[in-house]
């Protein structure tokens, strides 16, 4: 069973410290949700785990099944079993979705073990049908001209094709209409197993109605300031963040501030 362990993680962007000591453990079979106001470091956490070139880890550790993730290149992290559905996926002109996915799958399988074209197409057709995607999307250039919602769905398609051990979904629900939200949730639920752990970053309880989390964490000022069960998300939805701020004596929740 996979375990992603984050210990005392400090991260800086352009010399400015954003994360100030995050501790979190995500195990296979678990779904964690991270909520928190804008600008509190949620995407920074996701990016630092995946190895985004702009984010510098200044302290702390991230391990996957005991292996030091921070020592790995971005592609090695992915092949070790990490996946990040990005808040703003890139557009790559001239590279079709299908060619890209096949390259990604083959990179995991390694030379000599490549997936056969037939098998790949079957799997792609199946997952696209599951996500109710137009088959043409396979032959369009990667995310180019995709609508916001189509990009999100395409991230989930990649998740289902690549079958990582631990996935981080950064605002996978933003910009989705209610039907698309249900489909994306269906995709994530389909992945649920004791072999799959997931960290969902979201602003809305709405998504968590469809994907029930085991744990909910609240991020403020670059730290996880509160953790609980699904009921925590419900209370946030109903009451907002003020009660937490009051409870913890936080005036300004953004990262520049200290408690």
């Amino acid at each position: 069973m996979a375990v992603l362990t984050i210990r005392n993680l400090h991260v800086a962007v352009e010399g400015k410290e954003i994360l100030k000591g995050v501790d979190l453990e995500v195990k296979g079979g678990e779904i964690h949700a991270i909520m928190g106001p804008n600008g509190t470091g949620k995407s920074t956490l996701a990016s630092a785990i995946m190895g985004h070139p702009k984010y510098e880890v200044t302290e702390g550790s991230v391990t996957l099944d005991g292996q030091d993730v921070l020592e790995m290149e971005v592609d090695e992290r992915a092949r070790a079993g990490l996946f990040l559905a990005m808040q703003y996926p890139s557009e790559i002109s001239g590279v079709t979705n299908a060619d890209f996915l096949r390259a990604a799958i083959n990179a995991r399988l390694g030379e000599g073990n490549e997936i056969s074209l037939m098998k790949f197409i079957r799997k792609l057709d199946e997952k696209m049908a599951f996500l109710e995607m137009n088959p043409d999307m396979a032959h369009r250039y990667l995310n180019e001209g995709f609508s916001g919602g189509e990009k999100k769905r395409n991230e989930i398609l990649q998740l289902m094709m690549l079958e990582p051990k631990i996935a981080i979904l950064d605002e996978i629900d933003s910009g989705l209409d209610i039907d698309a939200l249900k489909i994306v949730a269906k995709g994530v639920n389909e992945m649920r197993s004791s072999e799959f752990g997931c960290l969902i970053i979201t602003h809305y309880q709405r998504l968590l109605n469809y994907i029930t989390p085991d744990y909910v964490h609240v991020m403020m000022q670059g730290r996880i300031v509160k953790s609980g069960g699904p009921e925590l998300a419900q209370r946030l939805e109903a009451e907002g963040y003020d009660w937490i701020k009051k409870e913890l004596g936080i005036e300004d929740e953004t990262v520049g501030q200290e408690a």
């Binding site: 995946m50 190895g51 985004h52 070139p53 290149e73 971005v74 592609d75 992290r77 992915a78 092949r79 996946f83 990040l84 990005m86 996926p89 890139s90 790559i92 002109s93 001239g94 590279v95 060619d99 890209f100 390259a103 990604a104 990179a107 995991r108 250039y141 990649q158 690549l162």
Partner: protein
């Protein structure tokens, strides 16, 4: 010396050469007029590239006789890879150095009056027709290199598509260089009469990657009223070859000319591609991709000139530059006075793969008419680190991710190549130029 103005082949040589090929008198006369011009005219001045030290005139042999290929099976592997088995090979011209080495045209097209033959046969058998077009879109008095071309013409192909004839399968030409120290003055003419349609695909290849040679190409394309010409080319001449290539098109009323050019030479190259939209409602689309590597210097000028009303012109240029190579991309959209309701668009992008590479994109719009639309986008930069991160975050190693991005960047021409064999060769050439 490369800067020598005198060319090593004189009037006597040209007279003998011309009569040896059984050329009509008008052609001999044009050669000699052009020869005179070579002494007076200056070299062209491609924007931002100095070419006065380049070797356009020094070569040991003007023309060599090479053995033709008796059958398709005898073609070199490099050529075989380009041609499709079956239908496609019915309309094929292979030129080995200067020798028309394999020529074939389907009976069906012959019956319709289509001409597809080497330039010397065309001069002998269709002289009056050829005369109307030869060196009319590109005139010998423009500069020394085209004058030299007209004087020393020693290869090429003539395509003539009569009125109302629409050709479904592409006509294919392959020019292979397998001798060193020669010069190729290759001339391509495509005439598409009213309401006709033709797709032409050509490849320039060198048998060895080092081969020394001078290549001077002029292609003239005429799309007459409501005719459509699609012209695809992949140039992949060797490192030791200096190339001047001038591809020019003239579109009549509602005529269409589309270019898909994969400019993959390994030697110094000046490429000029001009489309003149003369007729009202005519359309020009030119897509160019190029890769420069090593020490090579390349200059690519693409221009669409609007004369007719309601004309549309599109220029797309994507270039990759690595090592210490230099690539200059000049794009010129020109709308002449009177060409109202016309649209000139261009996009020019250069991707730099190394510190020492030099790349330049110069988009220019020259507009002499009020009632028009025009736009351009240009950029010179490196591979986007965020795109790279995105691909790598799916497990794709850095080098493969870079390759994907580069191939994607060059896809506009690759995807437009209408023959599978030629498309695959272009992909392989890109792969080799980018990787090694």
């Amino acid at each position: 010396m490369a800067t020598e103005t005198k060319i090593p082949f004189d009037e006597t040589y040209i007279r003998t050469f011309s009569s040896g090929r059984g050329e009509p008198d008008w052609l001999t006369a044009r050669r000699l007029e052009a020869l005179e011009l070579t002494e007076r005219l200056p070299l062209p001045k491609p924007e931002k590239t100095k070419i006065d030290k380049w070797n356009f005139t020094e070569f040991a042999r003007h023309t060599v006789d090479s053995a033709p290929y008796a059958a398709l099976d005898d073609l070199p592997e490099a050529v075989k890879a380009l041609i499709e088995a079956g239908e496609g090979t019915k309309n094929l011209y292979v030129q080995r150095n200067h020798t028309p080495a394999y020529v074939s045209l389907s009976d069906e097209l012959k019956e319709k009056g289509v001409i597809f033959t080497d330039i010397f046969t065309a001069a002998r058998e269709h002289g009056d027709l050829l005369k109307n077009y030869f060196m009319t879109a590109v005139k010998p008095d423009e500069h020394r290199l085209v004058a030299l071309h007209a004087a020393l013409l020693n290869g090429g192909v003539f395509v003539y598509v009569p009125k109302n004839v629409e050709i479904e399968t592409p006509l294919q030409a392959v020019y292979i260089q397998d001798e060193d120290d020669i010069a190729l003055f290759n001339h391509v003419i495509i005439v598409a009469e009213d309401n006709s349609r033709v797709v032409f695909v050509e490849n320039y290849i060198s048998a060895s990657r080092e081969g020394k040679a001078v290549v001077n190409v002029v292609a003239e394309v005429f799309a007459q009223a409501n005719a459509s010409v699609f012209f695809a080319a992949v140039d992949h001449l060797a490192k030791g070859t200096t190339t001047y290539v001038n591809r020019r098109g003239i579109a009549g009323r509602d005529g269409r000319i589309e270019w898909a050019l994969g400019l993959m030479n390994d030697g110094n190259t000046v490429s000029e591609n001009i489309t003149r939209l003369v007729g009202d409602g005519s359309f020009g689309d030119t897509k160019t991709v190029a890769v420069s590597r090593g020490e090579q210097v390349q200059n690519f000028t693409t221009s669409v000139v609007h004369y007719g009303k309601h004309t549309e012109g599109y220029i797309l240029k994507h270039g990759v530059v690595r090592d210490s190579a230099t690539s200059i991309f000049n794009g010129i959209g020109k709308i002449e006075h009177g060409a109202s309701k016309s649209n000139a668009e261009q996009e020019s992008r250069v991707l730099m793969l190394s510190e020492k590479a030099r790349g330049d994109a110069n988009p220019i719009l020259l507009i002499d008419e009020d009632d028009v639309m025009a736009g351009h986008a240009a950029s010179v930069g490196r591979i986007d680190p965020i795109q790279l991160y995105y691909l790598m975050s799916r497990g794709i190693p850095r080098r493969d991710a870079e390759r994907l991005i580069i191939h994607g960047f060059l896809a506009p021409v690759v995807e437009a190549i209408p023959l599978e064999g030629v498309k695959n060769q272009l992909i392989e050439v890109i792969e080799r130029k980018v990787q090694s």
